[in-house]
Amino acid sequence: MTRGWCKEYTAASYTVVMSIVRNIAGITKGMSITFREMLQPTEVENYPDGPGPTRGAVLQERFRGAHELQRDENGLEKCVACFLCAAACPSNCIYIEAAENTAEQRISSAERYAKVYNIDYNRCIFCGYCVEACPTDAITHGHGFELASLNATNLVMRKEDMLVANVGMPGQLAAHSDSLK
């Protein structure tokens, strides 16, 4: 009787010891990975304290950020106010008013130009449909992404906010090259 109890007791303590050993082995295995990872290079984008215009954020070439309205090689606006971007937009965030170019005041190279071009960033979902639709490559996605604002009315961008800087005629480029840098 006593011997039987003893046997059971030994068997039970054996299982307990084995489970402790197994658990320690399991945790050691896990911790070994943790320690190995300590030696791996850090994978952190040092935003917003990093270098460059994006302040450390790594963006891919195709990143769909804040829109830019482009100019052609003569410094004229590429947008011809065809309204295709507004039609393609799934969230109806683009508002355009067209006007005719005149001989005195030429804004775009075609007949019409966008007198008003607003994008409501409260609504924009950055799907890229406007860029896909634009037949003159006038609207593109830039890499701007710091768009948050405490005031929703600040999020309606006007043409002046999105239009790229006019670097002038090709001949004038050299004169402006300092400002480009």
Binding site: S19, R22, N23, A25, G26, I27, K29, G30, I33, T34, E37, E43, V58, L59, Q60, E61, R62, F63, R64, C82, F83, L84, A87, A88, P90, I125, F126, C127, G128, Y129, E132, A133, P135, H141
Partner: protein, 413 residues
């Protein structure tokens, strides 16, 4: 006016809002709210839990906190404009949603998709599955208390997201697929980058497994918890990894192939245990299989066009659009008027990371869908929560929520 039930009637009869201790239970039970801000409920899920001491007697999910009205919005958009909406339903697997919607509309129109687009879709879909499972593993482990895994899985997920950003321009809301193909040709170094990722992923998955599988706390929290029998799983409409973890051998990629999945060789991992542990094992195995499928798609990537030859439906190449008058006219017509889809209805199901994701599209012959309904796997899986949690401890509810891998965006739509 016929007797229409008032909304207040629904509220009155809702079991949820009546979730008070059952009659006759005396003071033994109490009702506890978990969520919608609880850190372990994954999004904005609210669970009303009736507990007896620490034992759960009833779990009633309260959904609708993330209702966006996407299904209804789809009816006001052209067919091509619905694609960005679909991203936002299941935001952890946007490409799968894109694919499912595009396949459904393509089925209605009856257009052939070029081989290269099919392979790219499969490749990106498997990357999406990996992405989603990495999030699941990280958050599930974090719920249980193993924070380290989260950091490692999100490191690999970051690379997948960068690849998505590389091809589509966005990390999560990709909107990369179009009805009739794919929006853009992938950039030049895309394939190298995917190849490098697929090379390191198997050993990373081993790493997660080594971190967790032998861990006594992990085993103790997962094994035998949240049991769901095969019969219950089928009766409740559970699909995907939870169904396969209950021992039902059912994977739409193999059993109802779509988008060229019949050309790929892969294994469907099964487990008969039906508990949280089984779901963990099944998903880990699925990640390995996804790597294999993605590798096959990468190796067999054919050349050729990425859009179908259907000028009235697919936007023309930009090159052609700028040089040929006819293409320009089609471009204007598609963007401003959409494309007409023959009247009819179609149901297309794909295997999303969470289970059977289905799009039911009804067309009345115009350029806008008459109805787009989504069958979402998370919704069905959530209904199984009561079966899995009743009679268990309240801490197990956290493990079970982690294991069913729900996305509230697709439950509420």
């Amino acid at each position: 006016m016929p007797d229409m039930p008032e909304i207040s009637d629904f509220v009155a009869t809702s079991t949820l809002l009546q979730a008070r201790p059952e009659e006759g239970s005396g003071d033994r039970t109490m009702v506890l709210n978990m969520g919608p801000q609880h850190p372990s409920t994954h999004g904005v899920l609210r669970l009303v839990i009736e507990i007896d001491g620490e034992t759960v007697t009833r779990v009633v999910p309260d959904i609708g906190y993330l209702h966006t009205g996407i299904e209804k919005t789809c009816e006001a958009k052209f067919y091509q404009q619905v694609v960005p909406m679909t991203d936002r339903i299941d935001y952890l697997s946007p490409m799968t949603n894109n694919l499912c919607y595009c396949l459904a509309v393509e089925k209605l129109i009856g257009i052939e998709i070029p081989e290269r687009a099919i392979y790219l879709r499969v490749l990106l879909n498997e990357l999406t599955r990996l992405n989603s499972h990495l999030v699941w593993l990280g958050t599930h482990a974090m719920d249980i208390g193993a924070l380290t895994v989260f950091l490692y899985t999100f490191r690999e997920r970051e690379e997948i997201l960068r690849i998505f950003e590389m091809v589509s321009g966005q990390r999560m809301m990709t909107s990369y697929f179009r009805v009739g193909g794919i929006a853009l040709e992938p950039p030049l170094d895309f394939f190298d980058r995917v190849r490098n990722l697929l090379k390191i992923l198997p050993e990373k998955i081993d790493e997660y497994q080594n971190l967790l599988t032998g861990n006594p706390i992990w085993v103790g929290r997962l094994k035998g918890v949240g049991h769901l029998s095969a019969a219950d799983a089928i009766a409740l409409g559970v699909t995907g990894p939870p169904l396969r973890a209950s021992g039902v051998d059912w994977d739409l990629r193999r059993d109802m192939p779509y988008s060229g999945y019949e050309k790929f060789q892969f294994r469907v991992p099964i487990s008969n245990d039906g508990d949280v542990w089984a779901r963990y094992v099944v998903r880990l195995e699925e990640m390995r299989e996804s790597v294999k499928i993605a590798q096959q798609a990468l190796d067999g990537m054919p050349g050729g066009p990425i859009k179908a030859d259907a000028p009235k439906i697919v936007l023309p190449d930009r090159e052609k659009m700028k040089t040929q008058m006819e293409s320009l006219i089609y471009h204007f017509k598609i963007v401003t008027e959409g494309f007409q889809v023959p009247a009819g209805e179609v149901y297309q199901a794909v295997e999303s990371p969470r289970g059977e994701m289905g799009y039911y599209v009804v067309s009345d012959g115009t350029a806008k869908p008459y109805r787009v309904h989504m069958r979402n796997p998370s919704f069905a899986t959530l209904q199984a929560l009561q079966t899995m949690c009743a009679g268990r401890l309240i801490a197990d509810v956290v493990a079970v929520i982690g294991s069913i891998d729900i996305v509230l965006g697709e439950i509420d739509r």
